[in-house]
């Protein structure tokens, strides 16, 4: 069931079950002996706390946590942000298995305990298991009562890096099709599990060692609201934000993510952000100019949205042909799909499932096999550079354009 209804599941559609034991499975054995404590030399980085537990005895659940923690060795810091620090790590008994350990910081400005982005990320990553969604391998608390998320290690950067490196990274329609396929499956899976991601953009699409694209950063995710319940409109990084959110809609669905997917699609083709407004007003103006002005005709009800304002000069919605010049690299079918993802009226926008059923996937060129996809490579140094950047991505919100969105979230009324 895991992959998508249309693309034949690869054999790893069901991941090996997570190494998360049931709370009691190991309780009896967890007490002193089972730790395989034989390894006398812990790398210094693993400062697994001399004196941990010395001042206080451990209850079974605490012992389990210690065991979980001890399965991993925390290595060098990859990045530091206001929300989290990210460390390279590896599995203790198998140093070749690398992981990323994201240590959520206690946020100074958030006085109400565990921060919303941490809660969301924990909640959704724990449940969503799919080849195109970053895996949460484990969770443990460190002694200072901080949350540590152990994530699969994705060493090849993100889509944004590939898109931007115009000089060294070349890719074609088959590659775009492969990446889009993986992205669409991830989004389909989220929506099929009633989860909205609400921050899809190229630098949240990380690349695994085998080329697989993985959707990451669920810090803004939420479950579909029951009909009638309001949600915040203040989500999704501006360039990827759909018109309904820019107009302040408080009721919305999976279509918001689909718009973002469309923007990523366009960006993959032209290798620059398609609609890069500096303000919300500018963003709306760009949408009107490049896609068409939302009106009662093409989107019944739009004028009722509380922040509906559009430039006075009404631009008719552009047809497919208008896109061919700039986006024709993916062929007429690809353009057809793109146009459907950026339908102004969210009700008319294609769904993730319909996207997967689109004929573009079946027309030539075939999607590139993931191991043949272009990657940002070129030796060890490159890899090191990628690693350093990885952090900025994993603990996303800090130093990129997503930051503002996240910070502005109106938690009081965000339901």
């Amino acid at each position: 069931m895991a992959v998508s209804p249309l693309v034949a599941p690869t054999s790893d559609a069901f991941k090996p079950s997570r190494p998360i034991s049931s709370p009691f499975k190991r309780q009896t054995s967890a007490v002193p002996s089972s730790n395989g404590n034989g390894t006398p030399r812990y790398p210094p980085a693993a400062r697994s706390a001399p004196g941990d537990g010395a001042a206080m005895t451990l209850d079974p659940i605490e012992q389990l946590n210690e065991d979980e923690k001890r399965k991993y060795v925390k290595g060098k810091k990859l990045g530091e942000g206001t929300y989290a620090n990210v460390y390279l790590g590896h599995v203790r008994h198998d140093p070749s298995t690398l992981v990323a350990i994201k240590k959520i910081k206690v946020q100074q400005q958030y006085q109400d305990g565990m921060a919303p982005d941490a809660v969301r990320e924990l909640k959704y990553l724990r449940e969503l298991q799919h080849p195109n969604i970053i895996s949460l391998l484990s969770v443990f608390s460190s002694k200072d009562q901080n949350l540590n998320l152990v994530l699969e290690y994705l060493p090849l950067g993100d889509l944004e890096m590939l898109i931007r490196d115009v000089d060294r990274v070349r890719y074609g329609a088959g590659d775009i099709k492969a990446w889009m396929g993986m992205l669409t499956r991830a989004v389909w899976f989220c929506h099929d599990n009633f989860v909205l991601h609400r921050d899809i953009k190229p630098n949240n699409l990380l690349i695994a060692a085998d080329g697989e694209v993985k959707l990451a950063d669920f810090g803004l995710a939420r479950s579909f609201a029951d009909p009638g319940r309001r949600m915040t409109a203040n989500v999704i990084t501006r360039w990827y934000r759909p018109p309904e959110l820019l107009f302040g809609a408080r009721h919305y669905g999976g279509a918001v993510d689909i718009w973002s997917v469309g923007m990523v699609f366009a960006e993959l083709i032209i290798r620059a952000p398609f609609l890069a407004g500096n303000t919300e007003v500018e963003q709306i103006a760009l949408i009107c100019k490049q896609i068409g002005t939302p009106t009662e005709d093409n989107w019944p009800g739009v004028t009722q949205l509380r922040e509906y304002t559009v430039p006075s000069e009404v631009v008719p919605v552009w047809g497919k042909e208008a896109y061919m010049g700039r986006f024709g690299a993916v062929g007429a079918d690809g353009v057809d799909l793109l146009v459907r993802t950026v339908a102004l009226d969210p009700k008319k926008r294609i769904t993730a499932r319909e996207m997967l059923e689109h004929r573009w996937w079946r027309t030539d060129p075939k999607p590139t096999r993931k191991e043949d996809l272009p990657r940002k490579s070129g030796g060890e140094e490159k890899m090191g550079a990628d690693l350093k950047r990885r952090n900025g991505i994993l603990d996303d919100e800090t130093n990129n354009r997503g930051a503002k969105v996240a910070r502005k979230l109106d938690f009081g009324q965000a339901k």
Binding site: A54, T57, L58, E66, R126
Partner: protein
């Protein structure tokens, strides 16, 4: 294979928090026994350091509280007594949620959190009266409602946010960081919508059935172990069946209508956890099977999903769940708040509880403070950028007062937080510095 089944098996609710009644009972016995042992140890070490001269290190692995020092161990709560108090406090939680006018989902999530937490923690260890407020607070967040702690605290007369926040991480850890709870409420709505399309069911009857079923979901499903044993859709069907058996069975027969051809192989690789057997919300099965992949459904596949023997199996499961729910019908709310009952059954247990509480764990604020002190202390020069504003004096104060620590165990080094009795020893943590 019904996609919902496979999907449900991926949830943390199924993977980590579903147990058979036998398993659950054994776990609770375990928890109770472990708590007794630990509390006995801790109480024994309370008097003073002087008491523990006899080889504190080795006593670690041979917990023998009865043997050595203690004369006056309190009488502990038994596992069944804990269970009874558990129900009492679950109702307290629901009442607190009502008082704060929280939506059903939040109250239900809080109740599930609360009961999960106390599967592996004894109520002798952590204070249920406070943890239930913590559970409500964290349930708000888990359900996407991020309200200010100050606002939240006011509703319960808690002026100090720390009183609530101190338990948040503890709760989260006790939940093993699985904070998504699947509820039967939406399933009920879906079932009723499905039923309303049937010509032979009167509208008034359906309205009444939904109303009653919802009451049962809001109370009975939370006051019992239903969430541990059954899937949301099973719980929903059981509640509906209690409300109006005819309506529930109509839905089930409607769904499992496929008449199998002579041969059937019904070895549903059945795992023994009951939660697997019933398909999630039969109503959605029919819809989802429109998926392209179902095109290769043979008759046998069909009978595996909507055949009559599956129907019988589902009916059996629903019946069992029904029995469970019927132990705490909504009318029992009065029972749990009835003064005479409280006085006769609950008050004595609470009295007992005050005498056998865990001295190290009961005060959540203090516990958290000590933990933070420890972390800060040993984290010196670490790369974690933790707040570092705590002074040595305050450490001393904490360890001096809060934790009666035999000073001689402070041998590991300056960074050692001091040694308590217990198995911290020999444990992995003595790694070289």
């Amino acid at each position: 294979m019904a996609a919902e089944d496979a999907r449900y098996r991926q949830t943390s609710q199924y993977q980590m928090w579903s147990f058979s009644p036998t398993q659950l009972a054994a776990m609770r016995e375990n928890t109770n026994a472990a708590a007794r042992t630990r509390i006995a140890e801790r109480l024994a070490s309370l008097p003073a350091a002087s008491n523990t001269t006899s080889a504190p290190t080795s006593s670690v692995n041979t917990p023998d509280p009865e043997g050595a020092s203690i004369s006056a161990l309190p009488e502990f709560l038994s596992a069944p007594e804990e269970a009874q108090l558990m129900n009492f406090y679950t109702l307290e939680l629901l009442r607190a949620g009502d008082h704060a006018e929280m939506p059903d989902e939040i109250k239900a999530t809080a109740a599930a959190f609360f009961r999960r937490f106390y599967v592996t923690n004894s109520i002798m260890t952590y204070p249920p009266q406070e943890m239930l407020i913590v559970a409500l607070f964290f349930a708000c967040k888990a359900e996407g409602s991020f309200i200010s702690i100050t606002e939240f605290g006011k509703q319960f007369g808690k002026d100090n946010p720390e009183d609530i926040l101190a338990g948040e991480f503890l709760l989260c850890q006790g939940l093993r960081f699985a904070i998504d709870v699947k509820h039967p409420f939406r399933a009920l709505r879906g079932a009723v919508m499905e039923l309303s399309t049937l010509p032979d069911i009167e509208r008034n009857r359906l309205v009444a059935a939904e109303h009653r079923a919802r009451e049962i979901l809001r109370f009975s499903a939370l006051m019992t172990d239903a969430y541990f044993h059954y899937t949301p859709s099973q719980i929903m069907l059981a509640a509906l069946s209690l409300a109006d058996r005819g309506v529930a069975e109509r839905l089930i027969t409607q769904t499992f209508h496929y008449v199998a051809p002579p041969f059937t192989s019904n070895n549903n690789s059945g795992s023994e956890t009951p939660a697997t057997s019933g398909p999630d919300a039969p109503s959605s099965n029919t819809k989802r099977n429109a998926a392209p992949r179902s095109s290769n459904n043979s008759g046998e596949d069909k009978s595996q999903i909507i055949g009559s023997h599956i129907r019988d199996k589902v009916l059996g499961t629903i019946e069992a769940c029904r029995d469970l729910l019927s132990k705490e019908l909504p009318e029992r709310r009065e029972h749990w708040t009835n003064k005479t009952v409280i006085k006769a059954q609950i008050t004595p247990l609470r009295k007992k509880l005050t005498k056998c509480r865990d001295p190290d764990r009961w005060n959540l604020v203090e516990l958290q403070r000590v933990r933070r002190e420890q972390a800060t202390k040993k984290g010196g020069g670490s790369d974690d950028g933790e707040p570092d504003d705590r002074t040595l004096e305050s450490d001393a104060a904490v360890f001096g007062e809060a934790l009666p620590v035999p000073p001689k165990r402070r041998k590991v080094g300056a960074t050692d937080g001091g040694g308590g009795p217990g198995e911290g020893k020999g444990d992995p943590f003595g790694g070289p510095l």
